[in-house]
Symmetry: C2
């Protein structure tokens, strides 16, 4: 297709949804991607570029002339335009902004100045605001009289503002059409709508949407002036992104890593995480090394010690996973923390006792040495109880110290269970069998 | 407060949002919860019960009389009513349904018959459908003429259906108010709106919303008849739920476990997962046991072997996490699978070589034995490469066999790296030092 037949390409690609065009771009070769955009000309929907990975987007944007980009920015909704502009190099971004009419430039610049991960970056600035003394009929007439491209693509509500553009309330379209045409909007507006500050964290915004089942929320600046609106479809991406980051962090992968990243980037980021793990593995190994003579005298201990460490590690990971998730969803708070700590500790102790009994029986029979039974049982109990405590306290302390518990808990917690597992098992064995 | 002063309680609780009432209920003692509902009487918003944990909901519902429940079901939106009805025991559910007017009973029963986790359970059945020949003005007049409680609480679109109630298209409210009052709705409707089948999986529905940035989607039965509508606020819960389940499964916790579950339930569910892990830990230990005499001859091997296993396990977990997430978000597909497998394998081999060199140097110096260097290096390389392969192939195969990769991958993958780690390290050591 990409042999230059522009008419044919347009015919095939134009009817597709922007998400499908994005998927199509991802499937193309590197050189074909900017070529497709050129061949599509005016008919290319730049919103498709917000649907693809960041690396691919950068590659394509580098190849496109500033004039094309400026034209595209004018046609996009402001939040999509910001998503594309933020991928550009600073100089190129400035050039594109220069080529835009002043009004649009100011709006986009304000969004770009908002820190990444704040409401200001996520919001859409095209919205409809009316004075409180307008009647429902006047608002509907205003819609009909306005050019479609001056209105948002799809909108569900109208904002009511005072002369200083301070937000007074909002009216949903269904309330508007149900009202008598002569009713003033201030009579039907919801004055107590939740609003968010321009510099609010997006994950905090997402939680607000989830908790109150919102579909949109107005964004205001320090002076309570309306500056934009965040709609739920943008929030869905924030929620999905936050979940992905948490999952990657728990798996020891950099939260920024994406499937489309290059080999070298991935090697480097994984290497750093593995280096930290190697450090903790050597700490655990030094514990083993201090018991070198005992291991030599009774090699069964070398075979069984990793079982104690592994079972403790897994039990602690269970507790840690539940804790990290509960902290992320704000289900775990001061009011229930003590109850949950006690429950996890009791679970660890109970399962420690059960697995202590079980593994003690197996170990004693496997090596035909009675003493290994009680030694294994006691060490298993100690390690599972310690693991439960570490699994819940480590993430809670990290959260209090403002460190992301999903990122840092894993290696801490398994180091605890390795050290306690090896240490307790070999110490108890030394005492029981009078080794040393 | 719960000393029976009904007036005072109403005054305090009524102005709260349903989500906040839910949070309040969770904070109360067991006995106080149904008491609050009784004291609130007619003013209690049963939607608050959809905002609390399932265990707490069951407790409260058990205490309430059938008549109260039936009354509440009538006032709720259909999706909230279904969420509450599905918590009831079958007999009680039947009693509540009997007490409802026929029309509402039929609608609710159809939703309850839909399997859990399908579009039919999630959908809202209160919606507005109009014939294609109505004009925009007629639709607006219809809104004004209809009693508010016959319409959905909040709506953004009108469905256009033929006489057999087959879905022809939808008109968003903004298009409706912008259109000339004499325009027929079939001229302004979107005929190609995406729709989902009644028995579609909710996670599939969520993906559709995410991909196409939808705010709502109509639900149809096999004959393309309109039966309901799913709005994005319900989908947000599905997305959050799916992420939670994936995180829990990866951490070795039952996906159903909730923070409010009781001690015994948690002990039981965690025990089963730990039992599986114990099995795999004994498999790894048997590998160590077959090298018992070598370990006795050279105790340094017992100290170093867990480092090889742990580093392989962590590297494999990185690959597995990325793979599981990419499978869940459908980023990993046939078209890019080979490229990703090769990249992960190359990353594993590269980091294997790097860490082989590093740990080889440390090991040789630590134990002042030159031979431990090359043995450690070779085993580390082998295990990290094997781990990368296992980390990507295990989840992909499980996915193909229709087993949830998030649930089952973890223990498989770490068993691979434990067995390969111990096995390769001790075999290479046996050959190098001529032990045995």
């Amino acid at each position: 297709i990409a042999e230059g037949d522009s008419g044919h390409v347009k015919e095939l690609v134009s009817p597709l949804h922007e998400a499908d065009v994005g998927a199509l771009i991802e499937l193309l070769d590197h050189e074909e991607r900017p070529r497709l955009v050129e061949l599509m000309g005016d008919e290319f929907d730049f919103a498709a570029l917000t649907e693809i990975g960041e690396t691919t987007r950068e590659e394509i944007l580098e190849e496109l002339p500033v004039a094309t980009l400026a034209e595209a920015m004018r046609e996009l909704e402001s939040d999509d335009a910001v998503a594309i502009l933020e991928t550009l190099e600073p100089e190129e971004q400035a050039q594109v902004l220069e080529a835009l009419p002043a009004q649009e430039r100011i709006v986009l610049r304000r969004s770009l100045e908002a820190a990444e991960g704040t409401a200001g970056r996520l919001m859409q600035t095209t919205l409809i605001a009316v004075p409180p003394f307008w009647s429902a009929g006047e608002v509907l007439d205003f819609f009909r009289a306005t050019e479609p491209d001056e209105l948002p693509d799809n909108f569900f509500e109208v904002f009511v503002v005072d002369p200083a553009y301070r937000l007074l309330g909002t009216v949903f379209l269904d309330a508007l059409v149900r009202a008598h045409p002569k009713t003033r909007v201030e009579e039907i507006m919801q004055a107590d709508r939740r609003r968010v500050q321009f510099d609010e964290d997006t994950e905090e915004v997402a939680r607000l949407f989830e908790r109150y089942n919102l579909v949109s929320v107005p964004v205001v600046d320090e002076a309570e002036r309306l500056v934009g609106v965040i709609t739920i479809d943008d929030v869905v991406d924030v929620i999905q992104e936050a979940a992905s980051e948490e999952i990657k962090a728990l798996g020891g992968v950099s939260p920024d890593e994406e499937l489309t990243d290059s080999f070298w980037w991935i090697v480097k980021s994984r290497f750093l995480w593995l280096l930290i793990n190697l450090g903790t593995a050597f700490i655990s190994a030094s514990v083993l090394k201090t018991f070198e003579s005992q291991l030599q005298q009774m090699v069964a201990l070398a075979v069984l010690a990793p079982i104690v460490a592994s079972q403790g590690g897994n039990s602690a990971t269970q507790t840690m996973t539940v804790t990290v998730r509960a902290l992320a969803t704000r289900e775990l708070s001061r009011s229930n923390a003590l109850r949950i700590i006690m429950r996890e500790l009791a679970t660890g102790a109970f399962n420690g006792a059960a697995f202590g009994l079980l593994t003690g029986l197996v170990a004693a029979n496997w090596f035909q040495t009675f003493g290994l039974g009680p030694v294994m049982a006691l060490a298993m109990f100690t390690n599972l109880a310690a693991g439960a405590l570490g699994g819940i306290l480590v993430p809670m302390l990290l959260e209090r110290w403002k460190v992301d518990p999903a990122v840092a808990s894993g290696s801490f917690v398994t180091t605890v269970t390795d050290v306690v597992g090896y240490g307790s098992f070999l110490t108890i064995a030394t005492l029981w069998f009078r080794l040393g």
